[in-house]
């Protein structure tokens, strides 16, 4: 009888940014089955939102994710604007889009660093994170914060982007455009990275569709799904982007890197377009918060909003029944769908490849700590360093 070994990874582990648990069954070094457990950090945000007014909940929505802190307010405010039929000024649509694309650059750069670390390229991780600082500086310059920007308000944005601020944004766009070929070369043409990621963690197009995958995870498998392309909102309806999909998609970790690296360039193009075509006029439908809140209390209806976050579409549904607080609020973050693809990606892969496969969907769940390995009736506790070491050793073997 074949004996398998159970390897639970998480709920706290360096390959993950937040707690989640993957239960693996191994035959030797090969994964023969995998399942995922979530819920270790359920904060009841929707429940809290049902006891707050919708303006207070913008700041709660912003804190659903520290990395995509524009993405949730983008979808949340859209849902309320739908419910209350609030018209957003054109200029606000453009400002929202610029901030969202700056966020995409920083998120993809952050992820690239994590991916490099997972396969043992810490120099590349530090380089990528150094490069990321530029966009964080611009976000801080425009919004006052490196994360949790507090830019969004229902019916528009809270701060304008003035002509005087353009040069710093353009400088950052040119900086990233100038670095793009170098970053592409480092990640996509390096022989060892290619060996560690090509045909690893494959998700077929059919499985991506069946498992409702979103974002770069779906696009790397050849699914033409990017709501900036298919669904007019913000300034995206004026721009007409094309989704980034590999020419001959394999749906492996390499393709997921490729999509994200190319999307940095795409974000630069979108930001530049928005600055060139920025309409004049108001930035918010109702600047007086008391009046806005009063009008929101009168809403009797529901709305559905969504935004293509760096990890995939973020979805918010909200319903009002003429009271100060909503009577229903549902948030769907991209990882909610994408974690379902892990068992498929992990099947028949080596234990040493597990960290980079888990990281490849850019899970919105954080990290630290240890793994417990059960070998038959014996239970061994392996440190996180051990799994990371396995991954680094594989890289070194391939380089030798």
């Amino acid at each position: 009888m074949k004996k398998t070994v159970s390897v639970p990874i998480g709920p706290v582990h360096p390959a993950l940014k937040e707690p989640i648990r993957a239960n693996l069954e191994l035959d030797g070094e090969r994964v023969v089955s995998a399942s995922v457990e979530v819920g270790y950090v359920h904060r009841g945000i929707e429940w809290i939102g049902l006891r707050r007014n919708p303006i207070q909940s913008i700041y709660i929505a912003e804190r659903v994710c520290g990395i995509c802190s524009i993405s949730h307010p983008f979808a949340y405010t859209q849902a309320i604007e739908e419910a209350g039929d609030i018209e957003v000024p054109e200029r606000a649509d453009y400002i929202r889009t610029i901030i969202a694309e700056l966020e995409r650059i920083h998120s993809h750069a952050l992820w690239a660093g994590v991916a490099a670390h997972e396969i043992g390229f810490d120099t590349l991780m530090h380089y990528t994170w150094k490069v990321r600082e530029k966009v964080l500086d611009v976000l801080e310059y425009l919004t006052g914060n490196r994360v949790n920007y507090a830019m969004f308000q229902i019916g528009g944005v809270r701060r304008d982007i003035t002509k005087e601020q353009y040069p710093k944004i353009i400088e950052a766009v040119e900086y990233y455009r100038g670095l793009l070929s170098k970053i592409s070369d480092l990640f996509l043409n390096d022989v060892t990275i290619r060996k560690r990621t090509r045909n690893i963690g494959v998700l077929s197009k059919q499985k991506a569709l069946e498992l409702c995958a979103v974002g770069p995870t779906a696009r790397a498998s050849g699914v033409k799904k990017d709501i900036r392309y298919s669904y007019a909102y913000g300034a995206y309806g004026d721009i007409g982007i094309e989704p980034v999909i590999p020419d001959d998609p394999v749906g492996d970790v390499y393709d997921r890197i490729l999509v994200r690296v190319l999307e940095i360039g795409q974000s630069c193009d979108i930001i530049e377009h928005c600055l060139d075509a920025m309409p004049s006029g108001e930035i918010i439908a109702e600047p007086n918060v008391s009046k806005l809140l009063f009008s929101l209390r009168a809403i009797n209806g529901e709305g559905f909003g969504k935004h293509e976050a760096p990890r995939g579409e973020v979805v918010h549904y909200i319903r009002f029944e003429g009271k100060e607080s909503p009577t229903a609020w549902k948030i769907r973050a991209p990882t909610y769908n994408n974690i379902q693809t892990w068992p498929e990606m992990l099947m028949d892969e080596e234990l040493a490849d597990v960290p980079i496969i888990l990281a490849s969907i850019d899970p919105c769940i954080s990290c630290t700590d240890r793994i417990t390995v059960k070998r038959g009736s014996n239970v061994e506790e392996l440190t996180s360093d051990y799994l990371h070491k396995l991954s680094v050793e594989k890289t070194r073997r391939l380089k030798a």
Partner: protein, 164 residues
């Protein structure tokens, strides 16, 4: 595509409404369709969506509406066409005394997490679901049910602990 979907909804006699909303300088619109459906027809309805391409299930929303629980299945259709995506929101009502509905996991396997979430938060039973384990919560509270005593107790206890 919108005409084909409307034709299909008319033919089947479903009650629906269409919302369009413009954005940006060009005022290009996106489209949402809201359909009300009897729960007994849900599964066949989802199967019939495949004629418009593989439907993407974003999520299932759920809310306690007093005497019934409402589920809304948020689908995306035609998402592979430039500005062609149609959001299809399918609303189903379940009486509180009988919170049961067919699972669609055999049609769209990716629906399992969102179905499990509705089991935990609202107590909805999905007939035919392959995994009934909790996805998010530890206890048996149903936090989205407004008069759920266990949730009230949990909140009271948590508040007391926090105050200590």
């Amino acid at each position: 595509m919108i005409n084909e979907i409307v034709k299909f909804l008319d033919k089947e006699g479903f009650e629906y409404g269409i919302k369009k909303r413009p954005s940006g300088k060009k005022k290009r619109e996106h489209t949402q369709i809201w359909v009300n459906l009897d729960r007994s027809k849900l599964k066949d309805f989802v199967k019939s969506l495949f004629k418009f391409g593989f439907p993407h299930l974003s999520v299932i929303s759920g809310a306690d509406r007093g005497d019934h629980v409402e589920l809304i299945y948020h689908f995306a259709l035609n998402y592979d066409k430039k500005f062609g995506e149609i959001v299809l929101n399918v609303r189903v009502s379940l009486p509180k005394a009988d919170l049961e509905i067919d699972s669609i996991t055999d049609v769209i396997p990716g629906s399992i997490v969102t179905e499990r979430e509705k089991m935990e938060f609202l107590g909805v039973k999905f007939k035919g679901i392959t995994d009934e384990s909790h996805a998010f919560l530890v206890g048996e509270e149903k936090p989205w049910i407004k008069d759920d005593e266990r949730t009230k107790k949990l909140v009271r206890d948590t508040y007391k602990e926090g105050k200590k």
